[in-house]
Amino acid sequence: MAKVIKLRKGLDVRLKGKAVPEVAAAVKAADEFVLVPDDFVGLKPRVVVKEGDSVRAGDALFVDKLHPEVKFVSPVSGTVSLVERGERRKLLSVRVKPDGSGAAREFDTKGDVKALLLESGLFGFFRSRPYDVTANPEDKPKAIFVSAFNSMPLAQDFEVALKGQETEFQAGIDALAQLAPVYLGISAQQTSSALTVAKQCEVNVFDGPAPAGNVGVQINHVWPINKGEVVWTLGAEEVIFVGRLMKTGRVNLERTIAVAGSEVKKPCYVKAFVGQKIDSLLEGQIDTEKHLRIINGNVMTGLKTSTDGFLAAHATEINVIPEGDDNAEMLGWIMPRFNEFSTSRSYFSWLLGKKREYVLDARVKGGERHMIMSGEYDKVFPMDIYAGFLVKAIIAGDIDRQEQLGIYEVAPEDFAIAEFVDSSKLELQRIVREGLDILRKENE
């Protein structure tokens, strides 16, 4: 039996608009697909196609400048319609117009797994800790961690995506196991035997509120990272990508994503490819007259986008909530505000029970201050790390202190719940991201 790790710290925010666990009928075909280098954190890209080139699914669009063997491939077959560049010729995106032929590059699955993953573009989905950046193929990771659940509000339920893909998932794990020992974290609510008795890996069960599903939290409890060590992480659905490649020799980047949130008319799951244009996923699902915030990924960690945006490489859901910038709420510092969720009992929404689902908009609901209250972060930070002190060390730019306090073990997403509850409204994820970037530059 798998080890059960109980976590007490954390917070489950109940939001309205959870996706019904059913896959909706086929959505409108998207007329454009995009691969965005910025989705792969820490990557310096070099584009390898020109506008007008025709590509198959699995053909490289850009590669890592420092490690050209790390390729990033087209999710569909078609024609390269745009190589978008920004200031100082920074590569912003590579767009592909699909031709609908379904042509895909065939890979030989017999040889070395790592070489295959690099060539097929799936290695690009690996991330490494420390720094939570796209993995470096020269590193020797001590382990590969996969979290099979996302505990954030409105997140994808991985068991919906897993349905019918069980053998692919196991094939993916088998392939990973050839690179390093694999650790799979599952939640106490998951029952699928593909997860609970997965082979070739150590399964750990995590029972607790968000962010228990964060792979960083799981690493901290199973085998914490020390200075000098490297751990690779991979999204659960990306393990299925690997499995499909191993079974068919083709790259198939199709996800089952959750379209969820209070402003989605019928929250559900849809099949979508990495980089698919978002308007095809939200057709008929939102009221375009309203001030809405469409989030590319999870409400706690994703970036703001629009219907013209494209499904981010690692995104497993699209969340839509009210923007809230047209809201004129009076005297917020004293009103009871029953509609507002708060962990503080100075609001009275706790009277209405824990089962209630809230509609929250994108307002920050307060001004940014210095850190005032103590212990706020620690209550929702289920790691053996003093989160508040670490954030202060990052703000102060004290690198030695950051190392001592455990910065190598964290990723920005681990601070998402802390940022949500923070009464001083500090942008913790941004602070941590910048801290990690500076540290990486110093160490390399």
Partner: protein, 393 residues
């Protein structure tokens, strides 16, 4: 409501960079966010939703929690005035409160005017938002001084404290010392006669705008606080009703500190809403009680351990001052140590120091200095655990 919103939106450009009223931007911003929840939405690359709690809400609840003690303190001022004038029979409940209100209101006004004036100026100068921390400090200061404190002294102390104890460190959240206690310490050491003097400071002796009574006998005015008396003469000469009066609060003392019941109401609100840490608060009482018991057991004092907790500023300090999250210990374990030591030092000063009958202010300020050291020890344990782990592998 809508009209006000529209009006604010219309005049807002005047206060922005380049507008003709730009010098008052921090003031405008302060008032706007006071009237309406700010509409700023979260930036890209951040959490998209936020808890409704913000520092305005927290500070508001601190102020609400102070209200019972403040309102009772006003009543007690009237009561002490009538008692000294020997006219307790004629005085009405409302009349006594009204007298106290008139006596305290100018202090609150001066404290806010001076403190907020500095805060607004600094915020404008640094292009920052107004920080609401002073809203609590500004009401705490009049509550921890004697009722007869001259307004000019108060103004000097508030200004010195806001500038020296808070703004030069970077504002609310960066200060080392509790600004309200620093203001009191400045008064205490600069104008000792006005703060404890010959014990003529605790009772207001002049009628205000027709309310209250003129006290003619100078003797009647020299009502020492029970704690001051105990320090001089021991508790022997004091009658047993003192402790009951100290619980209800009908004793001479600083404006807000006298009533244990009113403070308990505020404490209940602070603990229930989670604004104050129960760990700090409880530890202060435990530390004070234990030290008081020990001192009496070894025969250094005749004051009972529970009398320490009830008299003087002990309870007020424990509930409203020691629990300041900025200047206190920030680690959960550290909060116990921090609280216990505050209680210990406060009672030590009371018992061992012949000069000061009260030790709470000094205890908290003293422990403010040591809070980072306490935290350091706890954080260092975490650090060495991590370092050890790396060696073991």
């Amino acid at each position: 409501m809508k009209a006000l919103r529209n009006y604010l939106d219309k005049i807002k450009p005047n206060f922005e960079e380049g507008g003709k009223l730009h010098a008052f931007q921090s003031l405008f911003d302060g008032l706007e966010t006071f009237a309406f929840v700010p509409r700023t939405t979260s930036r890209i690359g951040s959490v998209n939703i936020h808890d409704a709690i913000d520092s305005k809400r927290i500070i508001s609840f601190v102020i609400i929690a102070l209200m019972p003690a403040l309102l009772f303190g006003m009543y007690n001022i009237g009561y002490q005035n009538a008692l000294a004038a020997g006219t307790l029979g004629e005085a009405t409940l409302l009349g006594m409160w009204w007298f106290g209100f008139l006596a305290v209101l100018p202090k609150i006004v001066v404290s806010y005017a001076v403190g907020l004036g500095i805060e607004f100026t600094v915020a404008q100068w640094k292009h920052e938002e107004i920080q609401e921390g002073f809203l609590a400090t500004g009401i705490l200061i009049p509550m921890i001084v004697p009722v007869t404190t001259p307004l000019w002294m108060l103004a000097v102390a508030v200004a010195a404290s806001v500038i020296l104890a808070k703004e030069i460190f970077g504002g609310t959240g960066m200060n080392i010392f509790n600004p309200a206690l620093v203001a009191r310490a400045i008064l205490f050491f600069s104008y000792p006669s006005a703060m404890t003097g010959d014990n003529t400071v605790w009772v207001a002796g002049k009628s205000i705008l027709g309310a209250g009574f003129d006290v003619t006998s100078a003797d009647a005015l020299s009502g020492a606080t029970p704690l001051g008396m105990a320090a001089q003469e021991g508790f022997a000469g004091y009658d047993q009703t003192t402790i009951c009066n100290a619980i209800s609060g009908l004793i001479p003392g600083s404006v807000g500190e006298t009533s244990l019941i009113a403070i308990a109401l505020g404490a209940a609100l602070l603990l229930w809403t989670g604004v104050a840490s129960w760990k700090t608060m409880l530890s202060v009482f435990v530390g004070g009680a234990a030290t008081g018991w020990l001192m009496q057991a070894v025969g250094l004092t005749s004051i009972q351990w529970y009398e320490h907790l009830v008299l003087g500023g002990f309870a007020f300090g424990a509930v409203f001052m020691a629990t300041d999250p900025v200047t206190g210990a920030r680690t959960e374990g550290g909060k116990y140590i921090y609280g216990l030591l505050i209680g210990f030092v406060a009672v030590m000063v009371r018992v061992m120091n012949p000069g000061f009958p009260e030790g709470m202010m000094l205890a908290i300020l003293f422990m403010n200095v040591f809070a980072p050291l306490i935290d350091y020890c706890f954080v260092q344990r975490n650090i060495s655990r991590r370092a050890k782990r790396a060696v073991q592998k």
